[in-house]
Symmetry: C2
Subunit: 342 residues, 2 copies
């Protein structure tokens, strides 16, 4: 089990605005054999997510930035090839954070062993993983939708948005999704069971959203940022809750945004409507809510109440292009890179 090599994609340059292929570099590197407590993993699936764009920047964020030359971060579903960790054996499938590479040697502690019979292992990267947990914990802890209330979520066909809507429906709320294009809108209503969907590319988007929310908006799950907010703001009801878990529209922002300054109007609405705006990252809620999340969502999957769509990319070498496309909204469903066969 020596001479194991990993093919990996590293951060070659910090992107200015939108990342380009030359910001990534593919390398091959030898791996040391696992020590006591460690395992050698082979990556099966790699998750691509918008937060990775923030980690490519130099500045402060909610997680430390990557250094130039670091392997790109990312959650993976991996197979144990060799184990020197007591609770895992070769052949086990685990949830890891091995990043954009084919193999990795990591500590066995902290890996979540997956049950391929309960759900397809790649779901650990979305509905049963970080994005599902982000939706579940943010919606239920901060959004707190009540039966009959109206929940609006943007990027509704995406991994977080699709779960936010489905969980809100299960809790008895009326759910309106915002998505880009007729295909995604149809998917959100027909496949995911949302009550309505509105295309944010429509010229009369704000009017359509108002019509889809005749009783106003009680929960707006903010996971995109950008101009959608301007259509949502006037519809918010008194005491509306706004969990903020991502601002993909701004991840590429470099400079100060052009005017007009929308902050005073926004703070005015916060005051007039007694709004709650709460930023969160799922890690702060993990310890408290992960067990309930896994139990609830695994059950909902078994009952057929939660559906998902994967946008499967074949081959690690295609990860950079897929990631650039993800930031532009080109994907349809959760982007998963298939690195090796299960």
């Amino acid at each position: 089990m020596t001479d194991i090599q990993t093919t990996r994609i590293v951060l070659a340059a910090r992107p200015e605005g939108r990342p380009k292929p030359s910001d990534f570099r593919t390398e091959t590197q030898a791996l040391k054999a696992p020590q006591d407590g460690q395992v050698l993993l082979e990556t099966l699936y790699l998750s691509l997510d918008p937060y990775m764009r923030g980690r490519m920047n130099e500045g402060e964020s909610y997680a430390p930035p990557m250094a130039l030359g670091d392997v790109m971060v990312g959650g993976t579903v991996s197979r144990v090839v060799e184990s020197r960790y007591p609770n895992l054996k070769a052949g086990d499938v685990v949830l890891s954070a091995a990043g954009w590479q084919t193999h990795a040697v990591v500590d066995g502690k902290g890996l979540r062993k997956l049950d391929p019979d309960a759900a397809p292992p790649s779901t650990a990267l979305h509905v049963l993983g970080m994005t599902g947990f982000t939706a579940y914990s943010g919606l239920l802890t901060i959004g707190q939708p009540k039966e009959g209330e109206t929940v609006v979520v943007a990027a509704a066909s995406g991994p977080v948005g699709s779960m936010v809507g489905q969980i809100a429906r299960i809790r008895g709320a009326r759910v309106v999704g915002i998505a880009g294009g007729a295909d995604k809108c149809a998917y959100v209503v027909d496949e995911l069971g949302f009550d309505a969907a509105v295309d944010h590319r429509a010229p009369d988007f704000a009017k359509q959203l108002a019509q889809a929310c005749p009783d106003g908006i009680d929960v707006y799950f903010e996971n995109v940022g950008g101009p959608v907010w301007d259509a949502v703001q006037p519809l918010l009801n008194l005491y509306a809750r706004i969990p903020v878990c991502g601002l993909v529209a701004h991840y590429n922002d470099k400079d100060v945004a052009e005017g007009p300054d929308r902050l005073p109007a926004m703070m005015g609405t916060v005051l007039k409507k007694s709004l709650t705006i709460r930023g969160f990252i799922m890690s702060e809620l993990m310890e408290e809510q992960m067990p309930a999340f896994l139990k609830d969502v695994t059950g909902w999957i078994a009952e057929g109440r939660v559906r998902w769509r994967e946008d499967m990319v074949e081959g690690l070498e295609n990860a950079p292009d897929a990631f650039i496309g993800l930031l532009e909204g080109k994907n349809f469903g959760k982007v998963v890179v298939k690195v090796a066969d299960l």
Copy 2:
């Protein structure tokens, strides 16, 4: 008890931006004698508060707008002249909302009888009234300062800010006030016992604020809006709480604000710092917290732990000018109009 007249100040015109004297008109009107359940009141003290500016506008706010010709709204300390309400008698001093006028006939129900021995009656318009309750409920419910945390409040010498700071100190927080001018800053530290004060008119205000908050900011009590936010935002700690109870800097805003657009940066900070921003008006917390507030603050007054400063204006006829000055920050302490002798 017939032929009672009230001299009152009504909304003559809706201000565009900053109110001017001609937006107000003084009238004299006959009052009908009180019916069963009603009392005739004589106004002793009238409270002037920034929220009144919002009520002069036509548009939607958290309370319905006044109509043209309506008496200006406002809290008052009044003496009962004639009572047809069982629980009140002539000579009683009550907290009412009689507005900008010398006399009023109102329902006895809902009036709070004041005890002139426990505290001077005019305090029912500030530390033991709406502004004190706003500070108390917003700070403790939303801000939730913990011992040793840093609390920052703007308009620190004003009626809400001064109470926010004093209550936060009582709860063991380090308190930094922001005020306009050396006099107010000295007052906040020397008289109110804040740990530090920073003059927002200083050219290096942001730098001074950073120096006054070496451990960052855990609670920012937002009651002004405007450029102070830009200095506060970079200092906010992870999980900081921001109760928003007033935006006096924007009450005169007519149009869309000039750029740059500060909203994307603000939402980015909400996300990176897991901030909680919560607008509130005191009425939503009143039922739950008013008894605790009255008990706590009356006790703190008796112990000398809460201090205040009144900016007393003599005569109802001077209310419009005093109100215009209040919106410009010209007052020093809580603005109270003395309408008649106690």
